[in-house]
Amino acid sequence: MSSRAENIAAATKALHGVSRIRPAEIVFWLAAVAAFFFLPDQYLLLNEVMITGLFALSLDLVLGYGGIVSLGHAAFFGFGCYVAGLLTKYGVADPLLGLVIVAVMTGLLGLLTSFLVLRGSDLTRIMVTLSVGVLLSEIGNRLAWLTGGADGLQGVAPDLLLGRWEFDIFGKVAYAYTLAVTFVLFVIARRFVFSPFGWSVRAVKENALRTSAIGIPVNRRLIVVYSLAAAIAGIAGALLAQTTQFVSLDVLAFHRSADLLLILIIGGTGYLYGGLVGALLFKLVQDAIANLTPEYWEFWIGLILVSIVMIGRERIVGLPAFLLKRLRGVA
């Protein structure tokens, strides 16, 4: 029988242990910063990967923590993209101010549409989110006078970043900007998921009936996390509009939402890094395969995805450690 003080110490340690910053996390972010100094040729690619990673992170909050399967998350990304583009074009050219406005507006769009995902089962949610995505895409197409339609939104020229740095054609400032914004939002998301509120959102995913039985209003939790994720997706979209200085209808396309789910499946859900790692792997694999067989890259992506699902990510990730153990055992 252990003493009360020991139990409290053990409980404190265990509860803190979950949210402890792990060495791998520090390595990850250091690598992202190192890329800025050592991969100057790849700024455009890095920028794109980081934006996709942030976008996937927002879906992870909804899917990996809230348990809501969405096939229309590009609605928020695309909406944020257009809002940022239009703001820049028609007066509010300061990038950071643009981000704040986009976050608020996309958050509101998330709030408005969140009521749709509260109803029904996973299947209903997939169809409803998909519909919202398609709907927004069509609206973007119809409002060609505003969005530029199929030609895209031209003439998006943001002001200097912090009144000092110009977005250059090599994407140097763009990557630094995207990395900084992503890091800040990641830290916020990380605090969020380990807070009591974050735990209550996970609880909803684990068992909604019990969550309501301990007095937590389930629907309100889902509305908040959905809106928050929408705001982050909007910011990711805004980053794309500001750093590429162009918005095309493609940002609202269905394949963006679908790819995003693939990215999360590749990277894993419910630990926040899945989106960032998945985005990087997805891009690298996509590029590598497209170089080998430009026509059939989708086949190989599909094959890889099926393999991940069949074999299981844990086993793939655990393979090096498993082999190492075997080798040591033999030696």
């Binding site: 509120f197 209550s200 684990e206």
Partner: protein
Amino acid sequence: MNTALETRNLVRRFGGLVATNDVSITLRQGARHALIGPNGAGKTTLINLLTGVIPPSSGTIMLEGQDITTASRSRRVELGLVRTFQINQLFPGFTPLQTVALAVSRRLGLDRNMFRPIGSNRRVIEEAVDVIERFDLVDVMNANTASLPYGKQRLLEIAVAIACGPRVLLLDEPAAGVPEGERGEIMDGLAALPADVTVLLIEHDMDLVFRFADRISVLVQGGLLLEGTVAEISNDPRVREVYLGDAVHD
């Protein structure tokens, strides 16, 4: 004698079926009250009415003198009416400590905090450990809930409810499905319930009912057949007939 929970002429109809028929029960503060009745007697409907899963067709529910007939589910929990489930409703991916800590955070009103880690509040940890110790879950507090022995999961089911700080606790068949060897744990768990918490126990296991309860209500076909002490109920011929069955002889 303070009244903790009271129903007045509670009725619930499903179409032509009267699932709850004019039920008036009064539980005094600190009571150990059992509700028994054969299958289909309306026990589950009554729990659903009390916890706000479904609204009554007529009648009122009072919690410590306050009318909660139309209160939301989470509001009832806030006011101190908490339930457990006949079939485990736990968070399989959480540890028992995380589960209890979340419930304690909710009770302390910290569950809307989005920025501080759940483990940063000393009171949350202390009260969570209190509950864990009370139900003898210390050894498994950091284990995965899904991997716990069934008896421990049943105990956690009760522990989570206690962590919500109930004034009145509704126990829905706490020993359901627990193997013989782990039943003692459940009895110990029930004995460890705080004395000031009023308990309404719904149970099939008559052994457990007779050992735990001080008063018993018998529900038959949606209505109350009778109410009395353990001795009164166990000797009542009508109860023997409708509930214990004709097969009981002594």
